[in-house]
Amino acid sequence: MTLAAASVIVFVVLAILPGKPAEVILGTQATPSAVRALTDKLGLDKPIWRQYVDWVGGIVSGHLGTSYISGQPIASELGSALEVTGPLVGLGLLVGLVVAVPLGVFSAVRSRRASGVAASVLNQIGIAVPSFVLGILLIVVVGVELHLLPTGGFTGWSDPTGALRSLVLPAVALGVVEGAIVGRYVRTAVLDVLSSDYLRTARAKGLTPGRALVRHGLRNVAVPVLTVLGLELAGLVVGAVIIENVFTLPGMGTLLLQSVENRDLIVVEDIVLLVAAVVLVVNFAVDILYHSLDPRIARER
């Protein structure tokens, strides 16, 4: 349902966009008849609903269509882009969690001390810095000055170490910022748990503060944080678009930008739809995780 709605919206918005694909492809010198011929060939002369039906019909039967520009099947272009973006988002998420959980827990537990306040301030700075700025900073410091890691490009997965090395900096740039945002939610959730009655009960039983938090607190913290994480994953995918350009990675973001420039509309449509599908799947997965985390939810259903 949601996916169908998304497909319609994407399609309509792109159809309204100025700039005809054929004109862009053939350049400013093209004759009107050449443009018309190419328009016919690409099927863009058909009524818009017809184009939509063709597109969706193709997707349903597993054909994502052919790029207007390169003439390549989109599936293979998307596939190789995903090989970059997928791991990038995954690593970004990992970095995000590694930042968010300790930072959030620390700034909550120490909220009344200077160190906790300092952690909170650090956290706010993390939120305020855009990921591309951090990316550029990382390129300058780690890449250019220290020569530790590559600053751009992607060698492909045939060389796994090299591929991972080129993903480290973009993943850090992406993950730190998302992690800072999630960290705020972790902090709030931990503060809630710290003042909860059951944590007091746990301490009254004889658990030390740290053990009480680990044994009774963290799972309760995970419930609200999971929701945010589901939403933030969409943010990660969007962030990846920008970061890929900063680090010149041949991922989905780069592909998307190129396609928009070239008015390769069908590629744009496919990518947007794919992102929408990913977000839906993630949210569904979050729902399922909820059930395993919180026995009260299963009952409400």
Binding site: Y198, A204, R219, P295
Partner: protein, 675 residues
């Protein structure tokens, strides 16, 4: 040398002394009660002893327990004592348990923290503990999550965790306040039995004098973070020396369920005028914190009184303690025929109604007609006279809930809950009808249906002979104006972002009432005895009692004929409860209100209502004139309900009336609970 010796315990938050220098000792095997109203610092005292204060609070003073000062040893050392030598039971059993962990694991954890036992052994022991706290199906409960249990079961689980390691001292913070009367009775018996069998010392914290008097040997009374009186329970009940304690005793006695004396309905209850300033504010008051509410206050009271022994074993912090023979609360019961419930505090004074009258200008005064016995002669005391108009009635009301998919139409499958099961009810004009029942009895569902806020599955509801069940909201507008409601939780039911005057005027706007709303709001504030400038304030700036007055004023705004009060005084402290009940009684007379008063508390109903309906599992089990139902209950359920009410000076488990076994109510799994 006592088991626990607390000296000069001070708990403060941002400069305010919430607990202000308390001395407390509990001997081995001794049972001590700590009495106080909300904000008196009694719970903080217990948490201070455990050194488990909420974040942001700090304590000073020494807490000697088994020859160690809990305030000075390391957190690790304290942790090894907590749960092993000293354990604690908390008020809200739902929030006190981890919602995401199975009960069995939580109990087993109490064991595994302190000793090395295998998982299987811990589980075996957990099952034994559950049996020990009289849980009927320990195996099933072990596997349950807290939300799958009833309130009574949860509290038993918390108790099981506390006694797991046979502690020598048990701190119980309002362990039964969140429970129904009959469940409370059984949990108290259990607690009493366990403490005696294990020879544990007990510090029982409660706002309810009757609960404490049923279990404890000694009692301490706290007010505004200070101990104002300390003595043996019998001593305090028979001869309270501090004016505050005397007021509490009198109020508790008059509200405490059944006594042999006839109750003069709608007569003012003895109250303590005013409200407690709250410990934070009290810490800025110089001198005796009770001064402003005290009829005996003199300039001397600007100096702070110290807790001093006045006779052996009886300590009081008051410059003008009451003489020993002043307030025998039993005399209050037997002298009911005199028509006065005021408490004679000072035999020397010609007008001894110190406690019933407001002593401080600006606080709530008892209205003038209150001091005249029989001031409410005009009160309609109809029972089922055919002459009176039927104003609200329902017939064969049935409400089904699906346990999981509540409130959905359609033909529900098997396994649904009958919230109401064929209820007939008639409210006559001028009636003050009490609906009594425990949680799950369907009383709140009934209220919602009577108010037209919910639809019955079948059956009819009529307001002035017109069907209202299933009517569209627009058709109910006329009725809304005439039927208003007061809910239990005054903070939750008032919009926190609205000023009091806007809250009160809102029903006037909503119902499109013409006229000068400002004038009406001023009248209403006066009617509920709130000062005019209260109108400018926000709900969170008010005390619980004041909030409930605002809620009442709001309900009265459109000049309703009928007032439905759903547990309207249950969330209030004893002394405030008496004030609000007096207000209700007064307003009933003044505005000729018809009232449906829903409560789990028979003492409350008894004071206000001319008729009472007892609801049990969605059915009316008994109905009739209040005095008759309460003095000669016919149904075994009503008998059990009455027997379960804690009474001053009555030992837990020392029964005069039929035992709780007669009550079919059970704190076992409610329908759909464990399934």
């Amino acid at each position: 040398m006592s088991l626990l010796d607390v000296e000069d315990l001070v708990i403060s938050s941002a400069g305010a002394r919430l607990v202000d220098g308390i001395d407390l000792s509990v001997g081995a095997g001794e049972r001590v009660g700590l009495i106080g109203e909300s904000g008196s610092g009694k719970s903080l005292t217990a948490l201070g002893v455990m050194q488990l204060l909420p974040r942001g609070l700090s304590s000073t003073g020494s807490i000697r327990f088994e020859d160690r000062d809990l305030a000075r040893i390391s957190e690790r050392a304290r942790s090894s004592l907590r749960g092993r030598r000293v354990a604690m039971v908390f008020q809200e059993p739902m929030s006190a348990l981890n919602p995401l962990m199975r009960v069995g694991k939580q109990i087993a954890e109490s064991l595994t923290i302190h000793k090395t036992v295998s998982r299987a052994e811990a589980k075996e022991e957990a099952a034994r503990l559950l049996a020990r706290v009289e849980i009927h199906d320990p195996r099933a409960v072990l596997r349950a999550y807290p939300h799958e249990l009833s309130g009574g079961q949860r509290q038993r689980v918390v108790l099981a965790m506390a006694i797991a390691n046979h502690p020598v001292l048990l701190l119980a913070d309002e362990p039964t306040t969140a429970l129904d009367v009959t469940v409370q009775d059984r949990v108290l018996r259990l607690l009493d039995g366990l403490v005696r069998a294990e020879q544990m010392a007990l510090l029982l914290i409660s706002h309810d004098l009757a609960v404490v008097s049923g279990i404890c040997e000694r009692v301490m009374v706290m007010y505004c973070g200070r101990v104002v009186e300390r003595a043996a329970v019998d001593d305090v009940l028979a001869h309270p020396r501090h004016p505050y304690t005397a007021g509490l005793v009198a109020t508790s006695a008059s509200l405490g369920g059944v006594s042999s004396a006839p109750v003069r309905r709608l007569q003012p209850l003895p109250t303590i005028p005013g409200t407690a300033p709250g410990a934070a504010a009290a810490s800025r008051i110089a001198g005796c914190p009770f001064r402003a509410r005290c009829g005996r206050a003199t300039p001397k009271c600007l100096e702070e009184p110290r807790l001093e022994m006045i006779v052996a074993g009886h300590d009081v912090a008051c410059w003008h303690p009451l003489p020993a023979f002043a307030v025998p609360f039993r005399a209050l019961e037997t002298s009911g025929g005199a028509g006065r419930t005021d408490v004679a505090l000072e035999p020397g004074r010609p007008e001894p109604a110190v406690l019933a009258q407001a002593a401080t200008p600006g606080y709530e005064h008892a209205s003038p007609e209150w001091s005249r016995p029989g001031g409410h002669a005009a009160q309609p005391v109809s029972s089922c006279d055919d002459g009176a108009t039927r104003i609200l009635e329902c017939e064969n009301l049935v409400k089904l809930y699906r346990p999981e998919l509540a409130r959905q139409g359609g033909e529900p499958p098997a396994g649904l809950i009958r919230a109401l099961d064929g209820v007939d009810l008639v409210v006559l004009e001028g009636d003050v009808l009490g609906i009594v029942g425990e949680s799950g009895s369907g009383k709140s569902t009934l209220a919602r249906i009577l108010l037209g806020l919910d639809r019955p599955t079948s059956g009819e509801v009529r307001f002035r002979a017109a069907r209202i069940d299933g009517s569209p909201e627009r058709a109910l507008r006329a009725m809304r104006r005439e039927v208003q409601v007061v809910f239990q939780d005054p903070l939750g039911s008032l919009d926190p972002r609205m000023r009091v005057r806007d809250i009160i005027a809102e029903p006037l706007h909503a119902l499109g009432v013409e006229g000068d709303h400002r004038q009406r709001v001023a009248e209403l504030l006066e009617a509920v005895r709130l000062s005019r400038d209260t109108g400018r304030r926000y709900p969170h700036q008010l005390s619980g009692g004041q909030r409930q007055r605002v809620a009442i004023a709001r309900a009265l705004a459109p000049r309703p004929k009928v007032l439905v009060a759903d547990e309207a005084v249950s969330a209030l402290d004893v002394s405030v409860r008496a004030q609000i009940l007096n207000l209700f009684a007064e307003l009933i007379g003044r505005f000729a209100l018809t009232v449906v008063f829903i409560s789990h508390d028979i003492g409350v109903v008894r004071h206000l209502c001319n008729r009472v309906v007892v609801l049990y599992r969605g059915k009316v089990v008994e109905e009739g004139p209040t005095e008759e139902v309460l003095s000669r209950p016919k149904s075994p359920y009503t008998q059990g309900l009455l027997a379960a009410i804690p009474q001053l000076g009555k030992q837990v488990g020392d029964d005069r009336a039929p035992t709780a076994e007669a009550a079919p109510a059970s704190d076992r799994t409610p329908a759909g609970g464990l399934g």
